[in-house]
Structure formats: structure tokens, C-alpha cells
Subunit: 362 residues, 4 copies
């Protein structure tokens, strides 16, 4: 019926409608944070501690939201964050997301845990050419996954480093979340994952098994050296780790706490961003995700030093509410709001969005 397919008119309506319409299991998986959700909430509330002081009567003619990152042109300084199993939200899964992002010329980062074949997604949109991967337990398996992505036409890799184990996902446990039989990480099926010997005596699954399969800085340096495309490290929260990424040849870092889904009590990404940018210098590509719900939040993140931001849960909501059309609409609303924020604050170009436009408050 027509009433049911009427699109939300505002971002908040998307968020509200998605929260209402998702199953409790999906709500727990996609929208809840780890533990008590404090880091997830902190990501959002960190923006409330920043104000933008707009400047008046500047010449704003001919400005634009265009920017460049790693030599690539971005129509607007944000990308779709990688997240798993889009088919939980829409039958077309990652293809729907790629189609929606393509419609707005916004880049999408495909998750290694895509629930649709990587080549199918890649062919759905020119702008879906970044690929996110986890360490696969060994150098060999990890490079195989990376090579598969490059072969499929993904020209930029994003290695997630902040989730060596799942966080304390109590909301999922309480909701009884599990993958339905027809949704899986189809692109990972071919790769072997570590198998663990039985624990002996007082051994710990965490320290005596999992820990031995995790990458170190040396492993990641090796990976970067092997692949022919830029690799960004996602999940950096400490300036020294950002500097280390820079020193081993990472093409950039994504300041991220995994949307608050791993370590509850990790800091809000916006709060740690400035010190990281200061450490690696203004030219090194530092991206950020976490807590961005409005176009004006993109402005704030850029003013605090991010070159671009990743958008996660708003896309989840757009996809859940209206598939590819929802994704496209959410991206359009974010882009429009961001343009309005630029105009209202007197910024014609991305370079005008400087640190002195924003102020911290208590």
C-alpha cells in the first residue's frame, strides 16, 4: 500500500523507523554497542561538546564539497563504512547498498563479511572499490583474501585491527542473535580459518589459542609490502599507533572504536582524533568513524582533523527501511545537510573547514 512505502522525510525518521521495524535480533546486532553501550553513546555525545562558530558574509560562490583522498576524488568527504551481512536487512544485500551509494557518487567500503559475492557487488557500482578485511589467522590466508579483492577490482584495502576477539555483545546474547541459514560470509567460505587444539587444564581460549592467531605490526608491515594497493589501518585510537602505521607504510588510518562494538569504555573517536592528527601531521590521511548522525557532524569531524569520515549506522537504517532507495536517500540527506552546514558557517571548500571553526565546551 502506498502509505507503507512512503519514505521517511528526515534522518531522524530513518533512525526511528529502522529501530521500530528491525527485529530484536537485528537491532541488537546492528544498533547496540558492546557491554553497556557507553562507548557507542560516547561517540555520539562527543559531538555535543563541540560547537561551530560560523563566520558571516564571506564570498561563497563556486564552492563545493569535493575533496581528494589517496589521489581519488570524493564528491563529498564521506564513505560508507564496512559492515557485515547486509542481507540481514535487505534481500539484495550489499548490491542494494552499492546501488544506493552509486546513485549519490559516494564511495562504499565492502566488508569481507559481505553476504553477497564480491564480484557481484563490485559490478554494481564504480564507487564500490574499497575493501575491508580482517586478519585471517595467518599471513598466507590474509594475503589470499587481499589478492582476491584486488583481483575483483578493489583498489584500496582497509585492514581492521581493533577486533581480535568479539566484544562483550550482551545485547546480542540477550536477543538470541544468530545468522539465519541463508545469510553468511560467502566470500570467506573458501578460506581456512585457524583450528584450535583442545584446551588443557587452566589454559585460556583467549590467551592460549586466539592470541596466537593475531597479527603484529611486523605481520601488517609484511602485508602492506605484499600488496600493490594502498592499505589503511582501521581501529586506531592512540597517537603512537597512528605513527607506527605511518612508519610501516600504511596509506592512512581510520580512527575508530568499531562503532562501540568491541571494547566498551574505549574513548569516543572524536575525542582522540585531534591528538592523532597532530602526531602524524596534517598531510597524512586520517579518517574517522563513530557517532556521525547528521551532516553537521561531518563538518565537525573534518574541523577536528579528519580528511573524511565513514558512515555506518545511518546506512544500516537506510538499508533496513527502504533498501537501495533508502541508502541513496540517507546519503543525499547527509550531503545536503553537510552543504548547508558549510554555507551557514561560511565555508566554500573543504579546506575552509579548519580547526579554528570549532570550539570545545564543557
Amino acid at each position: 500500500m502506498p502509505e507503507q512505502i512512503q519514505l521517511p522525510r528526515t534522518l531522524n525518521e530513518y533512525y526511528d523507523r529502522a529501530r521500530e521495524s528491525m527485529s530484536p535480533q537485528n537491532r541488537a546486532y546492528f544498533l547496540a554497542g558492546a557491554g553497556d553501550g557507553r562507548t557507542m553513546s560516547a561517540n555520539e555525545s562527543a559531538f555535543d561538546h563541540v560547537s561551530i562558530t560560523p563566520r558571516m558574509l564571506r564570498d561563497l560562490g563556486g564552492g563545493s564539497t569535493e575533496t581528494h583522498l589517496l589521489g581519488q576524488r570524493l564528491a563529498s568527504p564521506f564513505l560508507i563504512a564496512p559492515f557485515a551481512y547486509h542481507r540481514l536487512l535487505d534481500a539484495a544485500g550489499e548490491v542494494a547498498t552499492a546501488t544506493g551509494s552509486q546513485a549519490q557518487s559516494i564511495k562504499m567500503i565492502l566488508s569481507a563479511q559481505s553476504s553477497v559475492d564480491i564480484n557481484t557487488v563490485r559490478s554494481a557500482g564504480d564507487d564500490c572499490d574499497w575493501f575491508q578485511l580482517y586478519w585471517m589467522g595467518s599471513r598466507q590466508t590474509t594475503i589470499e583474501l587481499a589478492q582476491m579483492a584486488v583481483a575483483a577490482g578493489f583498489g584500496t584495502l582497509v585492514l581492521t585491527v581493533d577486533a581480535p576477539v568479539q566484544g562483550v555483545r550482551d545485547r546480542e546474547i540477550e536477543a538470541g542473535f544468530e545468522l539465519p541459514h541463508d545469510v553468511s560470509a560467502v566470500n570467506l567460505a573458501r578460506f581456512s580459518r585457524p583450528r584450535f587444539a583442545p584446551l588443557e587444564g587452566t589454559q585460556s581460549i583467549v590467551f592460549d589459542r586466539i592470541a596466537h592467531t593475531l597479527p603484529t605490526w611486523d605481520d601488517v608491515a609484511w602485508l602492506i609490502a605484499q600488496v600493490q594497493v594502498p592499505v589503511l589501518l582501521k581501529g586506531i585510537l592512540h597517537p603512537d599507533d597512528a605513527a607506527r602505521a605511518q612508519s610501516i607504510g600504511a596509506a592512512g588510518v581510520v580512527v575508530s572504536n568499531h562503532g562501540g562494538r568491541v571494547l566498551d569504555r574505549a574513548p569516543a573517536t572524536l575525542d582522540v582524533l585531534p591528538a592523532i592528527v597532530e602526531k602524524v601531521g596534517p598531510d597524512y590521511p586520517v579518517l574517522m568513524d563513530g557517532g556521525i548522525r547528521r551532516g553537521v557532524d561531518i563538518f565537525v569531524a573534518l574541523a577536528m582533523g579528519a580528511k573524511a569520515v565513514l558512515i555506518g549506522r545511518p546506512i544500516v537504517c537506510g538499508l533496513a527501511v527502504a533498501g537501495d532507495l533508502g541508502v541513496s536517500h540517507v546519503l543525499r540527506l547527509l550531503r545536503d545537510e553537510f552543504e548547508v552546514a558549510m554555507l551557514l558557517s561560511g565555508c566554500a571548500t573543504i579546506d575552509d573547514i579548519r580547526r579554528d571553526m570549532v570550539h570545545l565546551k564543557l
Copy 2:
């Protein structure tokens, strides 16, 4: 019935009654802020971070609330803020507001978006002799509007500079706000507004069309030079912009974020006021609006450096609840409360309301 026309007895009763009685559309248009309403809320809560330290046993005989601004006498240091379309709230529209303000000898600033003919409003009250205008897309159209106001007997102009585009007015969109057929900006009908060529390719309505119709400091300096009356700039939030206004001959500035209706995450006006006053010096007319709900708030704003304040939403509420009588009553309550605040804090004159009467707290 008598019960229905009983006036509210307190300011909060006006605010509550107005909120209850207004249509959802009007509530969204007049009472909501842009985005998530954070700047609108911050305007109000900023006052909670200030305390007044009263002084005892001073000689208070023969004091008064009188002050002078731009050579004009004000009975009390506040004016009615300009806002559009009073006829949405009361059939007599801006005439009702002017009548109510005249009854209390409080000046009213008429909005260019008045829903009643400018001359009709002007003749409704001697104290309605300030006129607010927007840039009209070109120097020629703007000066024509200014000249129309001066010719109608408005001796002070207030140019709003902080709203080159509408903010993100989600509450209005969600409520489906639109002007009824019989309410419009009748005084602007005669003026041509910019017409835009169709967008090409990736062009942006904001940057490739609207931005070219916006004024710069040079345009405003030109306007000030053209008109024979004082011009204040409304919407200043940065000290450097206030200094620039001063340098191009503006008669004063109004520190304002448009009541939180344009850029959500702009700072609270009270928070930025002191630095602006310090920048332009104690003699330059700096006015303020935003968040004033009580007579004691007027005291605080003056102590923080404002020469006078503009009152918006309380007047909206008075007009919505009881037309001209409501406007008059709200003004009376504000004035009485302000007098009480002066007496209780030991201030006999406006000049006694100094910075050292107030303290910031966390």
C-alpha cells in the same frame, strides 16, 4: 466563555499554554530549532551556567530601567525580536504585536517577512520603528527594500546576516508546515528575487546557485553607505566578525544564532557574548538574543555585556495565547521581573549591572 479568556498569570503559564494551543505546524515553525534543537536548548541552558551575586543594603532610591541606545530612549533594555508571519498566530498579526508593545513602551523590530502591510504596522505604534531585512539577492533589490522601510518611517535597520539558506528544519518537514494561502510576506511581493538556471551535471544548488546571490562584507558596507539610518548586523557570533561590522560602519551588532533555527551546533549566544564585547569595546552597541525567558535573564545578558536584548519566543507565546493583550502582558511580566531582579541584586540603574555581578559556574 470566561474561563477560556482568562489570561495566564505567569510567564511559564504563557509558554505552556502556547505550546498546548498551537497547531503542530506552528509549534514546529515557531518553537522548534534547527536539526536536533541543540543550539536552541544551549541558548537557554547557557543561563544556567551563570549566577548573580546580589549586593545588599545599597541605596536604590530613584533608580530606573531606562537606558539609551543609538541615541534612542528605551524604557527597559529589551526589544521585540523580528520574526515572520505573525498572522499565523493572531488574525491581526503584526498590528496586534505592535499594539501590545506600544502599551508597554517597548520597541518592536518589524520583520521584512511581516504578514501585514508595513505602513499599517508602523502606524499602530510609535515604538515600532525598527525594521529587519534580509539581503535580497542583489544590491539593487536590497536597497529598494531598505528605502521602502525608511520611507515608511522606520528609523533603524537590522540586517540579518546569519541565514543565507534555511537551516535543517526537520521539525517543520515532519509536521508538514506550509504557509496557508492567506498568510504571506506581503511587503516583499513587489520585489524580484533571484531566479536560478537549471543545474547542470554535478552542480550544487547551494554552491552553484544560492551562494552567488549572497552578500559579502563589501556589499554590506555599500548598503550602510547608501542608507541614511543606522544599520545593525544581526547574527554575529565571532569577535572578528563583530570588529569587521564595526569597521564598515554598522551601528551595532546583534549577537544571535537565529534562535537556534539555522546552524544547529552553533554556540549559545550568551557564551560568545563576552569575547565579542571585549573585542569591540564597551561603548559599541552589542545586542543579544536567544534563550531569554525571564526578566532575570535580561539582567544576566546585560551583566555579560549586552546593551539590550531581543525577545522572540516569549512574544510568540503571548501573541498566540491572547493577541495584543498577551504581548502586552508578557512584556509587563518581563519588565516587572527585571525590576525585581535589579532591586534584589542591588542595582538601581542599568549601568550598575556590571560584569562583576555575575559568575560563571561549571
Copy 3:
């Protein structure tokens, strides 16, 4: 019925029961603050910004809560604050309060607006020998009132200086509070109050009439010189005013904002107390009222520099719930809690309650 006369068992039960059982008019008059009640709330929440660091294993044998003030012995360092019209709460009015305070050897300050004859109250208890008065519009009338109190056997006077006019008592207006015909300030009936000529033109009742009847520092110095008993000034919030009180011979000051009932946005008394004590020195009697709801709050106020505190609303509640018995019980609970706080924090005497026992937190 027995159930109905069962006394509350805890202070909070007194406060809750009183709030439930009082008429809306009395609730507005006795329990609400001026304006939006922010100063009243701030008085209470100021205590939440202080923590007590207890010390362990000290020798606490033979300690006590006894202290001396103006050469008078106090069993515990608190007094009943003056407030008007006790007969609104209990038929026996101020006699009930005096009886209850006498039972606990706690001093009571009788309000000039007592609803029972001054001599009747005075004879109800030895510990009811402090009298509070307002300036009566002229030196002559004020000294007459003071002399009446001294003649009745009140050996200490407390002059309230912070309420030259009523505050913005919206809650009372909204509740329609007015004195019933059989309750009045019986002791003031004999005194003439200022009568005002009609206002002319733009004259202000506040500045052109009331302000001329208010006392100055010279008037108060004159009063102090006239009477033979110690006079404290109540309602001081600024260090310089405390120093001025000291210099004109006041026996002490009461740091007070009238329980938040006059100037809303005045600071919390606890917040301004330390600077006042520092200004007048550790030996000058500085008392405090406002926000004390627990015995531990008395400890905090003393650690922040008060020599003693005045208790208002808890007594209102005790009186409202159970008359003289309720007053006595509330005083007992406060005293017991205060003793427990001393023991738990390692203080055997009032002098042990020093500034280094408490810490401010954000």
C-alpha cells in the same frame, strides 16, 4: 486511627509525607523557590559537589557535638531557621515549633512574621531566644520592633537584608496562595508600614516607591548601635558585604539566599561560603542556611567554614506532618545523623571538622 498517626521513620519519609499532605497553596508557599526554582535546587545540589574523606582509627572517646556561638552554648551546631506563619502548618503554630525544639535543646529563631504572639512563643521554650526581623520602612519603626523583641526576652537579633521585595513567586501565584483570615503576622499589627502615594506617569512602584523605604548600610549601622543585643545580618552572599557587616559591628552574618525564595539565579550558599569565611577570618561568626537535608550536610557546611547552620524546610516538614512531635523528631534525626557522620569520618569535636576533611569534585 493508629496508622495515620504513625510517625515517619526517616527524614526522607518526613519530606515525602509533608509534600503529599500539604495543600497545593502551602506547598507553593513553603517548599517552592522563586522563579524556576534554580537557586533552591542549587542549594541542595551544591552538596553533591563535595565529598568527605573520612579518617580512620582516631581516638574518638568523649567527643561531643557541643559548640559555642556568640558566647552561647549550642548542643549541636544548628538552629531552626526563621520562617513565617507556622499556623499554616499546625494549629499551635510557633508554639509547637518552640516546644519541639526545646525538647531537643536546639535553638529556634522566631520570625517577625510569627503567627503567634511573641511572648507566648518565648515562654514556650528557653531555647527560643533569637528573633528575626525585617527593616520596617523606617529607622523608628524598625527600632520599635527590635525593642519589642528584646523586651520579650530575645537576646539575639537576626536582621534579614536580602528580601527588599518579594521574589518572583510564580508557584504561589499559580496555586492561588493567600493567607487565610485567621492567620496573620500578629506581632506586626501594631506597627505602621510605609504608605505610598499614587504613581505618576512612568513611575515605577519598585524604584520610585519601595526603594525609598529600604535600609542602607548606614541605617543598619545605626540600628546595631541602638540595640543592646548582638545583631546578625542574614542574606549575605558576597565577601565584601560580609566584611562590611563585620566593620559596622554586626555580631555575625548568615550566608543565605532566603532558601532560593527571592532572587532565582543567586548562587548556592555552600558555593559562596568559603570565600566569605576567608574574607572575614576564621573567628568571625559566619552561619549558613540553604539545602541542608541530612545530618551529613551539616558536617559539610561546617567543614566549608560555617560556625553553625540554620534548618528551614526540614522543620517545615516536621511541623506539617506531626506538629511539635514532628519538629522534635526531625531535629533528633538530624542530630543523630550528624553524630554518625562525625564518628564515621573520625571527628570527635566540632573543631575537628576542618576544611581538609572535604574535597570539591566536578
Copy 4:
């Protein structure tokens, strides 16, 4: 029925289920704080002012949660806090708790107010070999109690010093809490407690009776010298008291405010911990309790300087919900969460959990 014995799946489910299922009396006794519960709440909220900055890509192989304290091995750096009357929560009482803790190799500190015979509890688990005691009114009685515990096989004593009298336990009074006839401190029955002569005149039960039965630093030094086992002092909140404990030969201190059950307005334990550790040096055993509800909180407490923490209310909840199995499950969840927190933040050993892993925020 099977549904009813289904265990909670997460810690919060334990806390919620316990709160729902406990009697109002037990809820008041075990879960409420003294006074208005501010210190109890502050214990928890103090953790919200700390964030953990995780480090990435470190080598985590072969790590563990093992630590050593007083020469004893702890499987994980936390112990079960002593609390009274476990039989109020489960028929098997302290035996159930000891059984549950033994299953997870977590040490339990038995309260002197155990509701089960000390030898019975001791034999229920090797890891139940710490004993908590209060001062018993005299040196003689206290040493007898200590000797009884040592004779029963308890090799570490914890002397509680912060509760010379009960706090203001209003919640218990309001709920009418009293011990049922079949629950008592069975191990204390044989010891004589001080008997008080009747009070005379204005004497105070607190200062003229109880205070004379309390220990001083000299008494505690004497006790430590008498016993052959390590004695920790529990209830220290001031650095100077910690230093004094160190100087008289205490084996360590437990930074504690008794779970907020004695002095309301005492500081949160986490807030005072760093200054205490700084005072006594990094090698002196400083433990902490209060506010720990999650494994990640243990991480925070250790980073702020604690050598180990005591867990109270989570164990109360586990015991109340499912007896020994509930205790074991809660301990397992805490331990798993703590391991996850270590891995996610890049710490392989307890020594890696350093002060620079955490940051204070406003």
C-alpha cells in the same frame, strides 16, 4: 519447571533478576547504600569518567590473567568481598558461595558475620582462606576472634576499619529489615561484646559509649604484632591513613567505602585510589572495592593502581539468583570479560595494565 531455573546469560541479567526476585528487605540490606545512596552511585559512576585507550597489534601470545598477591597466586586479580549473612540469599549460605568460588579458582574472603560455621565454610573450598573481622570492642576479644580464624585455616586477615557505627541505613529502616530467627552471625555468638551503662543526662550513645570501644592505630598495631598471618586494613580512603597502615606493618590496604553503606558523601573509591597508590609506592599491596560491575571495570581499577579488586554486589546477585551455580557463573562472566578487555586493549599480562592505558575525562 525448566524455564524457571534457566540461568541468566549476562551480568546485567543477573543484576536485574536479583533485584526483581529479592525481598524488599534483602534488597534494602544488600543492594542499597547509606543515606541517599550517593556514595554507592558514585562508586559506579566513577568508572564512567575513565576511558581505556587500547593499543593495537601487540604480540599477545601466551599471556594470562594470573597475578601474585602477598606471595599467593591469584588466577585472576579479583576476590569475593566479605559480606554478612549469605543465608539470607541461599539456604546453603557461605558454603554455596565458597563452592561457587572454588569452581572458578577465585579466592573468597569470609565475613566474621558469616551465617554458617567457619570450619564448615573453610572446608568447602581451598580458595576460601581469607577472613574478615571487625574490632570486637577490646583487644582481648578481637585477638580471640583472629586466633579462631587462623586456627580454622584462614591464612590472611582483613580488618575492617571504616564502620565503627552503622551508617544511616534508611532504606533498611523503611523496608523493616531484620534478621530472621534462623539467620545469625553464628561464629560471633561465643564472644562477648561491650555492654553499655545507661546514659546520664545529655550523654551521647555515640560519643560517650560507642566511641570508647573503638580501636585506635595503636590497638591495630598491637593486633598485627600478635597474629602470625598477614593483616590488611579495609576501609582506607585517605593517603595518610594508607601510609600509616603501611608503617604499622599492615600487609596491605583495601581502598573501600564499604560499598557506600556507611558514610554517604564519602568519595568514590576509584577517585581516591591513585593518590593512595602514589603515597605508599607501587609495590605495597593496595586493593580496592566498590562499583565494579563488569570485567572491564577490573581492568580500569588495576590501571589506576589496584593490585586486585574485591567483588561484592555481583556475587550477592549470583548467589540470590542461583546459589553456588550463580556465584560460579558470575565469576566466570567477570573473568571472561576481563580477558576480553585485556586482549582488546593489547595487554597480555597483568603487568601490562599500566596507568597510561587509561585517561580521565570530564
